[in-house]
Amino acid sequence: MVAGAAIDLENISITLGGQPIVSQVNLSIKAGEFVCLLGPSGCGKSTVLNAIAGFLPVDGAIRVGGTAVRGPGVDRGVVFQNSDVLFPWLTASENVEYGPTIKGVAKRERAELARRYLELVGLGNAIDKFPSELSGGMRQRLQMARVLVNEPSVVLMDEPFGALDAQTREVMQVELDRIWRATKPTIVFVTHDIGESILLADRVVTMTTGPSAKIKAVHDVDLSHPRTMSDPQALTLQSTLRNEIGEEVSKVLRQQGLKEPGL
């Protein structure tokens, strides 16, 4: 087990294809903390996540555990929304063993590791199954196992449950909470689901809409676990977040409304 690492975003700006996507974002995330980035589609929250993962060039500094991010690395695991990132030609176990193989872990030990992590995510019965034989929820569990086996200090999750049906999503939220408690990495979780962010996060960070998206507000979620949305405090936070996101959405609509006569 590896303890989480702190993440520091120091005045970061990201430009993609000449477009300023994110500008001057400052955020400090504590080791072992669960932070949700919340915002309407296209606000640049996934871009921030990709920057922490090391996929994008960034102006400003990103430090994980005090070390500057220069590119992708095993210390930062990524769970993607689309489970097409799994290798369809490998079994669940072989997918999980991909990281340990690169590290040079011996075959027997690797299989044992894979079994342990597949059991952790509740896939103990699917070790020899191919991704195509698994449901959407199971594939996301497999992605988590494949990431966690590397014992990353940071897990970056890009709307991991966005493509799942409502029931499966609820189950996965509970499961993720349990897995996070068992392994305790730092988690940065991107979502546009307000309820999801309240149920999971220690802190919820809302963002303004792009271009040049910024952090709008940071909210502590001081609720005991397990959480339910019927909690009055949760409901208060929900309406606050809904208002914040609503402001951003109507801003976009106004912008589009103003553009129309000019076209």
């Binding site: 095993v74 990132v85 290798f87 030609w89 590290k103 590397n150």
Partner: protein, 264 residues
Amino acid sequence: MTGKRRDTSGGSNSRTFLKTFSPILSVLAGLALWEALSRQVLPLFLPSPLATARAAVELWSDGTIVAAVAASLRRIAIGWGLGVLLGIPLGIFMGSSVVVRRLLDPYIDFFRFIPPIAFVTLAIIWLGPGEASKVGLIFYATIFVVIVSMIAGVQAVNPARIRAAATLGAGRLRILLTVVIPSTVPAMVTGARLAMGNSFLTVVSAEIVAAQEGVGALIWTARNYGRTEWVFVGIILLGLLGYLCDRLLRLCATRFLKRYDVKT
């Protein structure tokens, strides 16, 4: 209620009947049409199905068909095999490197529009009248389609899959070998199938000159003897062989490469 159910099952029965027998019916109808047309004209212009069948028996009993099929299949196997074996790595190389692609793109887009028959004379001058020129032409007919298919395959690899591998600790070479190449297996199968079609289209032109044996050679020889029914035997053989080779390829692909998401 019961009556209704019986009706539905009757409907699906007749649907499976149609599915199985409609190709057979269609072939029979085609043969009947051929027979009817052949009665209106001279045998040299259009031999009847029966005359063609008789010619097939004749060519079979003197060993011509077996020898022709063996010679043509051998040329196709070598030319197509080389085209696929070289086209796959070249296509992957071109698909993964923007610089290489920019350098080779004009050539690919130039040569893939020139049919192999345009190169028959050159092939004989450069490779001689023997097997090499025939295999060379088939190779030419296959390699470009494989390369083009592989470039598309490499470019269609989900970038997130590559990123995922990078965060799991894979370097560039490992990503190429363990992510990009396995992800392009469906493109390999598509390329190989298209190339198979091209090599059948080419084998007749490849055997136009100085071929003693081969299905194409049989067709060209028939011209010299005025045996139109031999031409028909050759044409039918080509169609059947192509169909069988494609079936075999598809069967192997679905049997052995299913886990690579190969859909045929």
